[in-house]
Each structure stands twice: as C-alpha cells, then as structure tokens.
C-alpha cells in the first residue's frame, strides 16, 4: 500500500486546516463595520465602564457558537433546515421574516462601513458604494468566492493593529482591568443609552446571522462528529480572538476619545481620530484599511448566507452551483438584498454611524428568539443523540437568553414610555 507516514500526516494537517475555518472566519466577520463602530462608540461614550460586558459575552459567544457547530456536525443540517423540520412552516416563516429584516440592517451597516472607510480617502460614497456592491455581487455570482474568503481572512491580520494601538496608547491598564471585572453600579442602568449600548455590544458580538452561517459552514465542510473536536477548538480560539480585539477597540477609544471629551462618534472619521495620537497619520490608513476589509468581507458573506438560510428554511432551490433559472428566488433575493442595502446608504446625509449601531441593537433583540429555537433543538435527544447539552451549557445558554430578553424588554418598554411622553 502506498500510504506512507507522510501521506497520513498530510491528511491530518489538511483535516485540521479544513476544520479550522468556520469558527475563525465567523469570529473575524464579527469585527465588521457594525462591530468596530459599536465598540468604538462604547469606548467613546462610556470609557471603560462597558468593559465588564466582555467576559460574560465571550463565554456566551463560545457556548452559542459551540452549540451551532455541534448541531451542524451531529445532524449534518443547517439551522434553518432543523427549525423547519422540527417546528413547522409557520414558525420558520416568522423567524425568516425577522431574520431578513435584521440582516437587511446589517447589510446596510456593511455598506456604511465601506462608504465610511473610503470617505477617509476622500472617495465619495456615490462612487465607492455602487462599485463595491457590484464587485461583491460579481465575485460571488460569477467568481469563486472560496478564494475570496481566503484573501479576506489573511487581510484580517490588520485587526492586530488595534491591539498594537491599544498597547501604544498607554491606556490606564489598571482601570481597564478593574472595569472588566467589576459590574456597573445600579445607577448606570437608569441611563437609557447605557442599556442601548449594552444590547448593541451583545448584538454585535453574538450576531444571529453568524450562527446560521457557522452551522452551514460546518455542514458544507462535511465535518462529522469525529472531526468536531477540531472545530470546537477553532470556535473557541476564534471567539477569544475576536473579543480580545473588541476589548482593545473599546480601550483605545476610551483612552483617546473619551478622555478627551469626544463622546459621540457621528462619522467614521471620528473613530479614526482615536488612533491618531498613537499611530499618527498611519492611523487613518490602518483604520480605514481594517474597516474597509472587514466591511467588504462581511458584505460578501452576509447577503449570501441570508439567501441560503431563507431558501433552506422555505424549501426553495438554492446554491451557487445552480444557474439563475434553476434557483431564481435564491439569486433574485441575494441581488435584491445587496441592491437595497447599498441604495439606502446612498441617501444624502444618511446617518451612517447611528443606523449602523441601531442594526447591531436589532441583532441583540433578535438573539433570544434564535437562541430559544437553538436550545429547544439541541436538547432533543431524538435529534442529537448523546450530544445533547450538558447541564452547564444549558444553564449558561438559557441564562444568556433570559438576560438579553430582560434587557431588551426594558429597553423597548422605556423607549415606548419615553416616546409617549413627548
């Protein structure tokens, strides 16, 4: 037999690389336009006092992603497939509608990021957005988007810039560390904005669409229960990495914008200012490049993932290997999502940053709904066999869903009361 030691070793390495992907990619996509702007705003507006969210969110993120990876490996089906099979058409339809609505907001956020980052180079959004929208569309529909994935992944190395900036900025390390562990005082919660930003930070880190994307990637890569341990590691590493970057973004903005009194980020340029004291003029280039890369990457993945999810759930033909005629809904939906998302951004005086952060808050509001379905599915012994949730996982996951639900309800309640009072 020609199977030498080398060949077996090569297979192992390839297995690791094949499995190492979905979790890491999802994590990097986390730091897209929505992420960067939300974290920046969090640091600018509240200094270090939102840092305490990082640790619990990281744990919740690892748990949620691991559940999706596990479900994908054990059942071999995507999340929307499972929801359809176990909960029926009606519920699936409602969930898909919500998802489309929220994801549309996210698509807008990505194009906002593209517009904003290229504006730093004085390129008007009326050129950058249509060109990039077309580029993204063409790359996915006509080209090989797997190659695109890899290019973007390598370019994500730019995020390390934030860590470097963070270190160079000489923030108050002690204060930052303390705030990471200390829970905020009760009085903080009475600030509606604080609540808003907390949900935003949660929503931008544990994005619903990412869970669908992760599970689909696991299924597509054909990762089975046996190889799933490698995926679990990949998910954990990815989540930790993404939250470390998030932590540094908050810290950098806290150390620069907050301490110097700039509390609001109205334009992307303001966030770039955060880097200027440390990295000088390279700040713009680094920041713009990072934001552009992240937004373009997410803009290629997100609409596609949404199209797949909706088609799977509703039973339409889907797949890039099908022609337009074979899978009309899939292609039309995808195109529409990009076109409308990009068009909205082109509206004059569009409040890019505010809408972006709002889209992340919407993510946070949708999260408990998706988590409810995930938890019901993952605890079904018929479906998962021996791989149902352990008690601890259930505790963490249910607690997260509950906490976010409570926060969301309070936010919405207060918002309604405030609106009625005016």
């Amino acid at each position: 037999m020609k199977q030498t030691f080398w060949k077996r070793w090569r297979i192992t390495i390839m297995l690791v690389f094949a499995a190492l992907g979905p979790g890491f990619i999802t994590a990097n996509v986390d730091n897209d336009a929505g992420g960067i702007l939300t974290y920046s705003q969090a640091g600018a507006q509240y200094g270090y006092s939102l840092l305490w969210t990082m640790l619990p969110i990281t744990i919740a993120l690892i748990v949620v992603q691991e559940m999706c990876a596990r479900m994908g490996a054990v059942t071999g089906k995507g999340l929307s497939d499972l929801i359809r099979e176990e909960f029926g058409l009606r519920l699936t339809f409602i969930v898909m509608l919500l998802l489309i609505f929220v994801n549309f907001g996210n698509v807008m956020a990505e194009f906002s990021g593209i517009a904003g980052s290229l504006q730093l180079f004085h390129l008007t959004k009326y050129i950058s957005v249509p060109v990039c929208a077309f580029l993204v569309w063409a790359l996915v529909v006509k080209g090989d988007y797997k190659v695109v994935e890899k290019i973007f992944l390598f370019a994500s190395v730019v995020y390390l810039a934030y860590i470097v900036a963070g270190v160079l900025g000489r923030p108050d390390w002690h204060e930052a560390m303390v705030q990471t562990i200390k829970l905020p005082p009760r009085s903080a919660w009475s600030d509606q904005e604080y609540l808003y930003m907390t949900i935003g930070v949660i929503g931008t880190t544990i994005t619903p669409w990412m869970q669908f994307y992760l599970q689909s990637s696991i299924v597509e890569k054909g990762i089975t229960v046996r190889q799933y341990k490698a995926s679990r590691l990949d998910v954990i590493i990815g989540s930790i990495f993404t939250d470390i970057v998030a932590w540094f973004i908050v810290v950098v903005c806290a150390a620069t914008l907050f301490t110097h009194g700039m509390r609001r980020i109205d334009q992307v340029a303001d966030a770039a200012e955060a880097m200027r004291p440390i990295a000088g003029d390279y700040a713009f280039i680094l920041f713009a490049a990072g934001l552009f890369n992240a937004s373009l990457f997410a803009a290629s993945i997100l609409p596609l993932s949404t199209a797949y999810t909706v088609c799977e759930g509703m039973g339409f033909e889907s797949g890039l290997d099908k022609t337009w005629k074979q899978a009309p809904f899939f292609y039309w939906f995808y195109t529409l999502l990009i076109v409308t998302g990009a068009s909205v951004v082109l509206i004059p005086n569009f409040p890019l940053v505010r809408i972006t952060i709002l889209s992340q808050v919407l993510n946070g509001l949708l999260l408990p709904v998706i988590m409810y379905f995930m938890l019901r599915l993952i605890n079904k012994r018929e479906l998962m066999g021996d791989y149902v949730n352990s008690i601890w996982f259930n505790v963490i996951a249910w607690a997260t869903a509950l906490i976010v639900t409570v926060l969301s309800l309070v936010l919405v309640w207060r918002g309604v009361v405030q609106a009625l009072q005016h």
């Binding site: 037999m1 077996r8 009606r90 054909g222 039973g315």
Partner: protein, 430 residues
C-alpha cells in the same frame, strides 16, 4: 363535494394541514378530541389513511394511541368532523409499519423519484371518496404531495376562512408529486426496515441521479437511503458520488458490506476509493473481498493517482489475435465487468501484448467466422503507464477516442481508460 357520475364516486378534496387540529365529535355531540395525526398502515393499503389519532405520538417508540377509524368519519368542509352513529375513539396498538403523516412527512425531506431530486413537503393533498349512494362510508386517499408555493401559502394562512385561503393559494403555482412517486426516508434505524414498503422505486433510478440525491440529503437520511440499495446499485451510485461523500458513506458501514459493494465497483474506481481511506480501513475491506477482485484492486493501488495507470480500469475484453468473431462474442458474453463501457475488444498475442483493436460495431457487422485480424484496426493508439492526465486527454481529443489502452513497457496491455474518466478529469481542472 363532487359527484362524479362516470366513476360513481363522490369525492371531497382536503389536505393534511386542513385536517390537523379539527375537532372530532361523536354522533351524539360529545367532543372526543382534535385530530393530531393521520396514520397510514402500509400492510393494509399504502395509499389510504387508516386512522386519525387524537394525540400526537410522544416519541417514536409510542405503542398505543387513541384513534378513530377513518371509516367512521363523515367528512364535511366545515369543522367539526362528525362520526357515524355508534362510533367512538379507541386505543389502537400501533401496527409494525405505521407511517405518521404529520410527523414523518410534513416539513420533512422526501425523494421525488420521478424528478430525481430531494424536496421538502409543504402539504399533502387528500381526497375523501365514497361510493355513489353510500355516503356514510368514506375512505381517505392520499392523492399527492405538495412541494410548491401553493402548499406553503395554504399552510401559512391556515386559520383564516377556508374560501379566502383557497382563493389566495390558487394564485400561486402548485408543484405536486403523485403519491406513487414519493419515496419516504426514515432516519430511525429501528423503523427503517419497516418502511421498506414498495420502496423499490428508487432502484429504477439512474445511479447518477441517486448520487445527486445522496449528496443533497443530511447524513442520517443519506445512510438510510444508501443501506436500502442493493449492492450493485450501491456500487454504481458510489462511483458517481464525489470522493468526500464516498468516504463518509463507506466509513459508516461494516467492512463486510463495504467489501461486497467494492467488489461490484469498477476496479479503477474501487482503487481510487480505497486509496482515500485510512490504511487499516482499506486493509480490512480488502480482507473481506473475493481474492480475484482483491488482487485486481491491489494491483491498481500500486500506481500513483495521477498516472494513466492510476486512472485506468482492469476490466476490459481481450481475445487472442488469431481468433474469429464468434470467439469475440463469446468473450463478451463471459465478461463480468460493466458492459456499458465496452466499445472495443483488444487483440493480444500469447504474451498479452496488444496487437489490434476491434470496434464493437465491426464485430456486429462481420459474420461469425471472420478472423478478427480482418476487422481489426491496425492503427494502434495507446499510452504508457505513467502518462499524465494532460497527455491522455490530448490523445482522446486528437484521435477522437472513446477508450484508450494502457500498455506496460513491453507492450503488454495493463488496462483501459474510458472517456468518462477523461471528462471527469477535464471538468475537475476547470
């Protein structure tokens, strides 16, 4: 209600989604429950609903359910469903091979044997039928499965007045699969055998279509379908499936069954498959194979995959160069491999060296006593064991070949490459 004078049947169309949740009332007005499930007993008849259950089966291993027999039900377009006088509900011991329409069919994936694909069920169209004049004895026949938008819309709008729902639903296209063309898949191994009811529809499909379907299914369903195929069909389907899936399918079965399937495969394809598996696994499978097939495959495994020798098959028809047409036909009859790919017969001398090639058509046209040398093509195109994929493809293109013999250094014929291998190679390179 439609009274069809011609067929002397009165019919009333309905659907699974319309029936689920309807209250059931006895003749005296007593409420017995709501319809939660429709049961089909394939041992009695596979295309009619036998019972309506008043409780959903809690788990797959439920043994009894409260049901009403469909024969006792008097259909009506409006709620509730009334029973005949004297009929009531009873506790039914679930038959061995019962099919639950709501649980097993609704929203699940099924195989459309006619269209060769995997689809998801949105609704099931049912028809109440009664003999003309006997409108107190109805049967509920399963007409077709709705996989299109109309079924989806109907389900989404359930709860609104029926006429409104129907009007809106009829704006959309219906995509249906007649019940005869539906093949069910059951994930649960303990029930799998029982569902084999008339399941041989799948065996009439082309292996490549079966391969497509296998690729679309989730792992549990995939294994269920694959294990239901006989060895020959499984081997052919396996050859058409992509390598990653091949591996997954083989890994999930025991070595003995795997060996049985690998034996049925073309040796070249078998070698490719085994080289993808781990050493112990392929050893285990080879161990269970017949010595003859085993040797063929092992020989091919010696060659690197990108050599011509790594792509070829050792299944070909060879005859002595001095023989006549009749001998050639006998050799064809005795050939054990896949006859689909045989387009020519190879003439060899005593040392197995290639001397000539005879096209199958020429054999048909010649009379049986004609010496083969007379109808042979003396222009021999062949390649060496280590020819690259590119060289092989060039030869196929230049000489318009459908098969290419692969020769060893001393011109002994080692194997044959067919057009299908080259096409796959060219497409992969794109």
């Amino acid at each position: 209600m439609i009274t069809d004078a011609m067929s002397r049947l009165t019919t009333l169309a309905t659907s699974l989604s319309a029936l689920i949740g309807r209250p059931v009332v006895a003749a005296d007005g007593r409420r017995l429950g709501s319809v939660r499930e429709l049961l089909v007993d394939p041992s009695v008849t596979g295309n009619c609903v036998a019972y309506m259950a008043l409780a959903a089966p809690a788990t797959v291993t439920a043994h009894t359910l409260p049901v009403v027999s469909v024969l006792d039900v008097l259909p009506s377009p409006k709620e509730p469903l009334r029973l005949r006088i004297g009929a009531g509900s009873s506790e039914l011991n679930l038959p061995e091979r019962v099919v639950f329409l709501e649980k097993d069919l609704l929203d699940q994936q099924i195989i459309d044997v006619h269209g060769h694909k995997v689809v998801r069920v949105n609704d099931v169209d049912l028809v109440w039928e009664a003999a003309h004049g006997q409108e107190d004895l109805w049967t509920l026949r399963i007409a077709e499965v709705e996989v299109g938008i109309r079924g989806a819309v109907r389900r989404l709008l359930k709860g609104l007045p029926r006429s409104t729902v129907e009007t809106i639903a009829h704006r959309f296209q219906a995509r249906v699969i007649p019940w005869e063309f539906v093949d069910l898949i059951d994930r649960d191994p303990s029930r799998r055998v029982r569902l084999k009811v008339e399941q041989d529809r799948l065996s009439h499909m082309h292996p490549s279509d079966i391969a497509d379907i296998l690729e679309e299914l989730g792992p549990a369903e995939r294994d269920a379908v694959f294990t239901s195929l006989n060895e020959e069909l499984a081997a052919e389907a396996l050859e058409e499936v992509d390598p990653k899936l091949q591996k997954a399918l083989i890994e999930s079965m025991d070595s003995e069954r795997a060996a049985g399937i690998v034996e049925e495969m073309d040796p070249g394809a078998a070698a490719d498959l085994l080289s993808e598996l781990s050493d112990e696994r392929s050893e285990a499978i080879l161990g269970e194979m017949d010595p003859e097939e085993r040797q063929e495959v092992e020989e091919l495994l010696e060659f690197p995959g990108d050599w011509a020798a790594g792509r070829m098959t050792t299944d070909f028809v060879q005859v002595s160069a001095t023989a006549d047409v009749a001998t050639a036909i006998e050799a064809l009859r005795a050939f054990e491999g896949d006859t689909e790919n045989v387009t020519e017969i190879y003439l060899v001398d005593e040392q197995n060296r290639l001397k000539g090639i005879v096209a199958l058509a020429n054999i048909l046209l010649a009379s049986s006593h004609t010496p083969l040398a007379n109808v042979a093509d003396s222009r021999l195109v062949s390649c060496a064991l280590d020819a690259s994929g590119k060289q092989v493809a060039e030869l196929f293109d230049k000489y318009n070949l459908r098969s290419l013999p692969v020769l060893e250094e001393d011109h002994q014929i080692a194997g044959v490459i067919h057009a299908e291998h080259v096409i796959a190679l060219l497409r992969a390179e794109r």
